[in-house]
């Protein structure tokens, strides 16, 4: 077994055998899923007990009455217990504003004292139409608020329609103005939800960002530690500094890849059952696209190699995490650029800006991933020489050539840097090492 492999195997196993690795593999997607699923899950939760609501109707047009009638229909549970209790309605004549203020103040107190959950106040606007309604509450119960909005919209629209004297039954007008949800369909006729694509694009680049930063920093720390514990000199009395650097970079890269491959597998399995949770989470169609997976893995691997040369460089140049930490921000920013620019890229993933950025090696891993995820699912056919696939190949070639160049350059600095203790090298010194 060549020495490179000896180092590779040790570095790889050293990470993969750690409990933290297993924890990261399992916990990271759980946290991600929790972030995506929890809001919708929470939104669908049933109320545990009836909530009290009072309505002050200052409109003089029976909005409150209709509203109370409407929300009486909501059930708390399967036993037909009502969802809302203490339904009290105070109707105040439009000209009696002092009673209105008094009623509002006293009921407001009840909300503060938590004797009352919601206080709905219905007022008229300047055209004497009921519209400026407000809800006074300390609760964030979304489902209830959404119900109230829905009912009030229907009631007030009805009243307005009546005022407008349109010669049609109110119900039929309301059904005519029903909101339309567009189904987004690609040229081959597959339905592709843009929200799903976005979620997937962001998940992909977040994984890329997190793994590159985490394992890159681990690599940097392991080099600093080997310097500080003086193992470095023992190691390079057996292997060449280049073998050592490559063994470490490839070992850490393989650990990164292992983690991401496990996630891709987990994602594939999950997406099979995805429709059970929520239609929006059925990433299957996108995830199972082999073109996306192949390019994602390639971008991830070579992106890691490129960025790990930066981290290896920091590790070789500095004696302490603290010194090296100062230089992490630029690296973080390089990876963050696509996230910061995501607005324009999402709107136009094929714009000149997007194409140019995805060709720059340091941006390529994240930028190209984002573009591929946004564009590839809409394609009917792929061409290796043009369009997004052609661009991805060019971008990968540029990335690989840059990575090889960086490995050569950093290898030269690494060789000298790892034996320097206690003193920060200056830029001219580093240039001298490269020339040697």
């Amino acid at each position: 077994m060549s020495k490179f492999w000896v180092i590779f195997v040790r570095e790889y196993l050293n990470i993969v055998k750690k409990k933290a690795f297993l924890a990261g593999v399992i916990l990271t997607p759980l946290i991600m899923i929790a972030f995506m699923v929890l809001p919708s899950l929470l939104g669908d939760l049933d109320l545990s007990e009836a909530e009290s609501i009072a309505v002050i109707d200052f409109s003089g047009q029976k909005v409150g009455e209709q509203f109370i009638e409407a929300i009486k229909e909501y059930d708390l549970d399967d036993d037909n217990n009502p969802a809302y209790s203490n339904l009290s309605l105070i109707e105040i004549d439009y000209f009696d504003s002092s009673s209105f203020i008094a009623a509002k103040d006293s009921l407001n107190e009840m909300v503060i004292d938590e004797e009352l959950k919601f206080l709905l106040v219905i007022e008229n606007d300047s055209t004497r139409q009921p519209s400026s309604t407000s809800l006074i509450t300390n609760s964030d119960n979304f489902p209830s608020i959404r119900r109230f909005e829905r009912e009030l919209t229907a009631i007030i629209s009805g009243i307005k329609l009546n005022h407008a004297k349109i010669n049609l039954p109110v119900d039929s007008v309301l059904s005519l103005t029903e909101r339309i949800d567009l189904e987004i369909v690609n040229t081959t006729g597959d339905s592709v939800n843009p929200r799903t694509k976005l979620i997937f694009a962001f998940t992909s680049i977040m994984i890329l960002f997190m793994t590159l930063m985490t394992y890159g920093q681990l690599l940097m720390r392991s080099i600093i530690e080997e310097k500080n514990s003086r193992i470095m000199e023992v190691l390079i009395s057996s292997v060449s500094p280049f073998q050592l650097m490559m063994g470490k970079i490839v070992g850490f890269g393989a650990a990164t890849l292992t983690q991401v491959m496990i996630w891709i597998l987990m994602g594939s399995v999950l997406s099979l059952f995805g429709s059970m949770f929520s239609a929006e989470l059925s990433l299957g169609q996108i995830l199972f696209n082999p073109v996306i997976i192949i390019f994602y893995v390639l971008l991830l691997v070579f992106g890691f190699f490129l960025f790990s040369t930066f981290f290896a460089l920091l590790g070789a140049l500095f004696d302490s995490d603290k010194d090296a930490q100062n230089f992490l921000l630029p690296i973080t920013l390089l990876l963050m650029v696509p996230i910061l620019l995501s607005g324009p890229i999402i709107r136009e993933p094929d714009s000149t800006l997007a194409i140019v950025l995805s060709m720059i090696p340091v941006f390529a891993p994240t930028m190209m991933t984002m573009r591929i995820v946004l564009i590839v699912p809409t394609l009917a056919e792929y061409s290796l020489f043009s369009g997004i696939i052609g661009q991805a190949i060019v971008s990968l070639v540029i990335l690989i050539i840059t990575t090889i160049g960086m490995i050569w350059l950093v290898g030269k600095i690494f060789r000298v840097g790892i034996l320097m203790y206690g003193k920060r090298p200056t830029l001219p010194e580093i240039v001298k090492w490269v020339k040697q």
Binding site: V6, S229, I231, V234, L235, S238, L419, Q436
Partner: protein, 309 residues
């Protein structure tokens, strides 16, 4: 010649660490590289190990310039010791051996032998972090020799070892010499160098100031030392003419004389003023030679590397 250092030089920025150093190393002998701190010992050793590349000159192994493969036949114990804390002793030895191109199997068969030899066998599956400093030293020594190297290079071998462990390591080194290995070690503890070495190379200020068989070096220096034990105020002794240098221990002095001085007249001058308890005319110790040479070197080359080991 097994190993040949040909006019090697190395500078770090403005400082000259090693200047035009040449040395011939024959197979089967023990070589000591001595010199004051910062003389260039470690830099020399690193150049021999192909870790540091000389600015000029070359290191030849069997008449060929050394390359990466040379590392496989050398065992190197650096001055600054270091091991992976989280590995067990067995894992450490195996990893270090495999980095010398040995198979895991070849090493496995030797792990127990060596751990027993240095009395660490009961720690075989313990982690390195549980070892005391002396134990870690012994473990590091095993990793240096586990691949049965032809040449063993030990930088400041004995630092941090107690006398008992020192004996263990010393006996292993002598055994290796008998089996034909070549040993090169640096030290600034002269007593050990004197007892162990066949040949001595002394470096001071980055330059070689002495090189050769220990016996020859001593003979060159002449039988010109006096070990003196006395009672009374001996401060005047340092001023007696004909005495080149004095190593002072209060009631005990080692006097190095200028060549062919009459020892009798010196004894008379001393005996006049203090009670002489012992007056020994001896070969110079390596210690005497070291001090003498180091002084000369620092006078002739004052501005050379002081911080580079």
């Amino acid at each position: 010649m097994l190993l040949k250092l040909n006019n090697i030089s190395k500078s770090f920025e403005e400082k000259v660490a090693v200047h035009n150093l040449s040395m011939d190393i024959q197979a089967g002998l023990i070589y000591g590289i001595i010199g004051p701190n910062g003389a260039g010992k470690t830099t020399t050793i690193r150049m021999v190990m192909n870790i540091t590349i000389p600015d000029s000159g070359e290191v030849l192994y069997k008449d060929k310039k050394i390359d990466e493969s040379f590392k496989n036949i050398v065992g190197y114990l650096p001055e600054e010791r270091g091991l992976y804390k989280k590995l067990t002793l067995a894992e450490t030895i195996r990893y270090m051996g495999m980095l010398k191109n040995k198979s895991s199997k070849e090493i496995s068969s030797k792990i127990d032998y060596w751990l027993k030899r240095v009395d660490l066998i009961e720690y075989k599956d313990k982690k390195v972090e549980e070892l005391s400093k002396g134990m870690a030293q012994k473990l590091q020594f095993i990793t240096t020799v586990i691949h049965d190297p032809e040449i063993i290079i030990l930088d400041e071998l004995f630092s941090g070892l107690d006398p008992l462990n020192m004996e263990v390591i010393k006996s292993i080194i002598l055994e290796m010499k008998r089996s034909g290995k070549t040993i090169l070690f640096s030290t600034h503890v002269m007593e050990q160098a004197e007892k162990l070495c066949d040949n001595i190379c002394m470096i001071a200020g980055g330059e070689k100031v002495l090189d050769g068989k220990l016996a020859d070096i001593k003979e060159d220096f002449g039988r010109n030392s006096i070990h003196l034990e006395f009672e009374g105020d001996g401060s005047f002794i340092n001023e007696i003419s004909g005495i080149k240098s004095v190593i002072d221990f209060n009631n005990y002095k080692e006097l190095v004389l200028e060549k062919e001085r009459d020892t009798n007249s010196i004894l008379k001058q001393i005996a006049d003023k203090v009670t002489v308890k012992k007056f020994d005319i001896v070969d110079p110790s390596l210690y005497d030679i070291f001090i003498e040479k180091a002084k000369q070197a620092s006078l002739s080359a004052p501005a050379t590397a002081k911080e580079i080991g």
